[in-house]
């Protein structure tokens, strides 16, 4: 992945000459100074408004605060992992439906995909939280958050998978058919595994969206990181410090997911599609 980034930079910017190098050096120093000034201003504002007072931060020295946040963090994790799993499977199913030659199946799949892609996940959550009980269906809070988040993500993932399947060269399918694989086996043994590798970066960014979507769990009072953070805020009457810490935890989680994606991209190693296979001359 890092090699890829370098080559991308090389493609965007040509190798600098002496004047550009001097200019780059000057701008680096100037921007560094500006960033430092900005940070200093933020800290000063915090200090002036009393946000750095001990009463807003002291409770972070207590283990119980962290235990409570950890509990919320685990809640977020369980919802995110479950939702990710469901949406991956559902995404593949919807993609297969969308590409089906049987017209009603493809039309219905398409409508479902567009619906879940188009509707905000908060609205879906309200539907499960407020809508379903009116027809006598009561779900536990865990499912009231997990199902809508899964549905919202599966619509996007179906399209991501479809793009991946389309990106697998046609010759792969032809070769699979020519050795006698059935169309079904061709899809599951040859096309989908390659499509998955192609879409890993998009999959990971969608996973980040899932994690962020879980934050509306407070709507259904499911104890995730966000909800527990809110409880801490009321208990200690401290908005800024708690939200700051919570935000940092979310950033760390999503940073970890990104690192995972980089590791996965490395693990799949060599470019799986050689240039010659892609563009025969």
């Amino acid at each position: 992945m890092s090699a890829h980034t370098t080559s991308m930079r090389d493609a965007l910017y040509e190798a600098p000459g002496p004047r550009t190098r001097r200019l780059t050096a000057i701008l680096t120093i100037v921007s560094l100074v500006l960033v430092c000034i900005g940070l200093a201003l933020v800290v000063r504002q915090f200090y002036v408004t009393g946000q750095l007072d001990a009463k807003y931060w002291a409770f972070f020295a207590q283990w119980s605060t962290w235990a409570y946040l950890l509990e919320g963090f685990l809640g977020t994790l369980v919802v995110a992992v479950t939702a990710a799993g469901i949406s991956l499977v559902l995404g593949v199913v919807l993609m297969l439906g969308r590409t089906s030659p049987i017209m009603p199946i493809s039309v219905v799949s398409r409508v479902i995909i567009d619906f879940f892609r188009g509707v905000p996940s908060l609205l879906l959550i309200y539907f499960f939280f407020l809508g379903l009980p009116t027809i006598g269906l009561y779900l536990p809070p865990f499912w009231m958050i997990t199902i809508p988040v899964s549905l919202a993500a599966s619509g996007v993932l179906a399209e991501v998978f479809r793009a991946g399947v389309n990106a697998v060269p046609k010759g792969q399918t032809e070769a699979a058919l020519s050795i006698g694989l059935t169309p079904g086996k061709t899809m599951f043994k040859i096309v989908l595994p390659q499509a998955l590798r192609i879409v890993i970066p998009s999959l990971i960014s969608q996973l980040v969206v899932v994690v962020k979507d879980t934050t509306v769990a407070y709507v259904v009072s499911y104890p995730d990181l966000m909800q527990n953070g809110r409880v801490l805020i009321t208990t200690h009457d401290s908005v800024v410090s708690v939200y700051l810490v919570t935000a940092i935890i979310y950033i760390l989680v999503n940073f970890a997911i990104n690192q995972l994606s980089i590791a996965m991209a490395r693990r799949s190693g060599n470019p799986i599609i050689s240039r010659t296979t892609e563009n025969p001359t």
Binding site: P169, G171, Q172, E174, A175, A176, L177, S178, I179, G180, L181, T182, K185, K189, I190, P193, Q194, R197, G269, N270, P271, I272, I273, S274, T276, T277, P280, T281
Partner: protein, 248 residues
């Protein structure tokens, strides 16, 4: 030979791409052990013809018979027929996410129901035959074009096909790699494999084939033994084509 049922037979085959008439009343039979070379200018329909034989291209009318049986249209029967006819593509089309060994064992395991151990033993034998056994654990992208194409031939052979189709097997290769692939094909021809080869390699056609079929504009314009065709072409179209590739 003519009393025997041909391995591949096309009768009055027609195909259109929209307004374009890509195959016009094609009649052709390939007998057991025969090496048939299809040549012609690009766009003449030779690749399309080759691909109709295992139904990677459909036809509009006419008949295709494999060992006297009509080519199945779909399902298990079609898959089984395809398993019996090997195909080698211009762009190799090795399964990019599988190792070289897995490329060769996939068909035998999934289609022929062979055990993994047996499939691997036979695959190694085939890879040795085409000279790439040392690369068995690599993925296709790590191999040269010539090596990849030899693996593709081994992958087809692993299915123990009745006949093999080669769709411009050397056209995507760097010049120095063409011979290593042609040598494998010459060897196959010597062993009596029934082959249909779309190619621009005139030396191969002359040396190895039993029959040359010259196509232009979707039609078979002329056919004959390589000596007849190359030394005494009957039609003006064939003469022009031969002149152009000889660089006159």
């Amino acid at each position: 030979m003519s009393t025997q049922t041909p391995v591949i037979e096309l009768r009055h085959v027609d195909k259109h791409y929209g307004d374009l008439h890509v195959l016009r009343d094609i009649n052709l039979s390939v007998h057991k052990g025969e090496v048939l070379v299809l040549i012609g200018p690009s766009g003449s329909g030779k690749s399309t013809l080759c691909r109709t034989i295992n139904r990677l291209e459909t036809i509009d009318s006419g008949e295709i018979l494999i060992e006297g049986e009509p080519l199945p249209q779909e399902g298990k029967a079609l898959a089984q027929m395809r398993a019996e006819i090997g195909m080698v593509f211009q762009s190799f089309n090795l399964f990019a996410h599988k190792t070289i060994l897995q490329n060769v064992t996939l068909g035998p395991i999934e289609v022929l129901g062979m055990s993994k151990a047996e499939a691997e033993a036979r695959a190694m034998e085939l890879l040795r035959r085409v000279g790439v056994d040392a690369q068995a654990a690599k993925v296709p992208a790590q191999l040269s074009g010539g090596q990849q194409q030899r693996v593709a031939i081994a992958r087809s052979l692993a299915m123990q096909p009745k006949a093999m189709l080669f769709d411009e097997p050397t056209s995507a290769l760097d010049p120095e790699m063409i011979n290593e692939v042609l040598e494998v094909m010459v060897e196959l021809a010597r062993e009596g494999m029934t082959m249909v080869v779309v190619t621009h390699e005139m030396n191969f056609a002359r040396r190895v084939s039993n029959r040359v079929v010259f196509m232009a504009d979707g039609q078979i314009v002329e056919e004959g033994t390589p000596t007849e065709f190359f030394d005494h072409p009957k039609t003006a179209r064939a003469k022009d084509f031969l002149d152009s590739i000889r660089g006159h």
